[in-house]
């Protein structure tokens, strides 16, 4: 069966510091991968998606970036965090087009 991992689970960072969040998927190959952000009490906003290694598309321009160095690894980064980057970051995967997206446990980020 497939599992999706995210770490860290919780992170408190000062404004202006860098960020690296990691997501890995097990039990499948060549998944589609997604990064979402959920602000407190709000819905989900798609940030990035990837259909393969090195292929990244961005939905919302901002100070975040994503990379996919390996087939089942998806990384969300920032060089300088803003207060508005605080939120719950969720990674998801799906097996191809029109398949259900399954979500990881999430990383809760607080920028102070």
């Amino acid at each position: 069966s497939q599992t999706i991992h995210q770490w860290p689970a919780t992170l408190v960072q000062p404004v202006g510091s860098p960020l690296s969040l990691e997501c890995t998927v097990e039990g499948t190959s060549n998944p589609n991968l997604y990064w979402y952000r959920q602000a407190a009490g709000r819905g989900l906003q798609l940030l990035f998606y990837s259909v393969g290694i090195g292929q990244i598309s961005s939905e919302v321009p901002q100070n975040l970036s994503a990379s996919r160095p390996q087939d089942r690894q998806f990384i969300l980064s920032s060089k300088k965090l803003l207060l508005s980057d605080s939120g719950f970051y969720l990674c998801a995967w799906s097996q191809g087009y029109q398949e259900t997206q399954y979500f990881g446990p999430g990383t809760r980020l607080l920028v102070l």
Binding site: Q45, Y49, G106
Partner: protein, 115 residues
């Protein structure tokens, strides 16, 4: 731009009662998902509705899709406390790069079931 609206945003109901959550969307799509999120947790997939008239049921929850009306409903029958959570619908906007699918989420409906 696809917009997905859920209502109500917040629902407090008594155990044993029935209620319906509505999900309206603004452009054509024939694929819609329902997810559940417990406080502080991730999203759990509940249903995927693949075509007009699709109906799925699991326990006390039943979801349906009317693509002509651009409407999906999540009906709760004889609610119990364990159903307390936030429910999201998500609409598939269609393919990108001929490989992936993009979802637009509604704002969520926070359900609280009281004894």
């Amino acid at each position: 731009e696809l917009k997905v609206e859920q209502n109500p945003l917040f629902l407090s109901m008594q155990e044993g009662k029935n209620y319906t959550i509505y999900c309206n969307y603004s452009t054509t799509s024939d694929r819609l998902y329902w997810y559940r999120q417990d406080p502080g947790k991730s999203l759990e997939s509940l249903f995927v509705l693949l075509s007009n008239g699709a109906v799925k049921q699991e326990g006390r929850l039943m979801a349906s899709l009317d693509t002509k009306a651009r409407l999906s409903t999540l009906h709760i029958t004889a609610a119990v406390h364990d159903l307390s959570a936030t429910y999201f619908c998500a609409v598939d906007m269609g393919p990108w790069n001929n490989a992936g699918n993009m979802l637009t989420f509604g704002g969520g409906t926070r359900l609280m079931v009281k004894p």
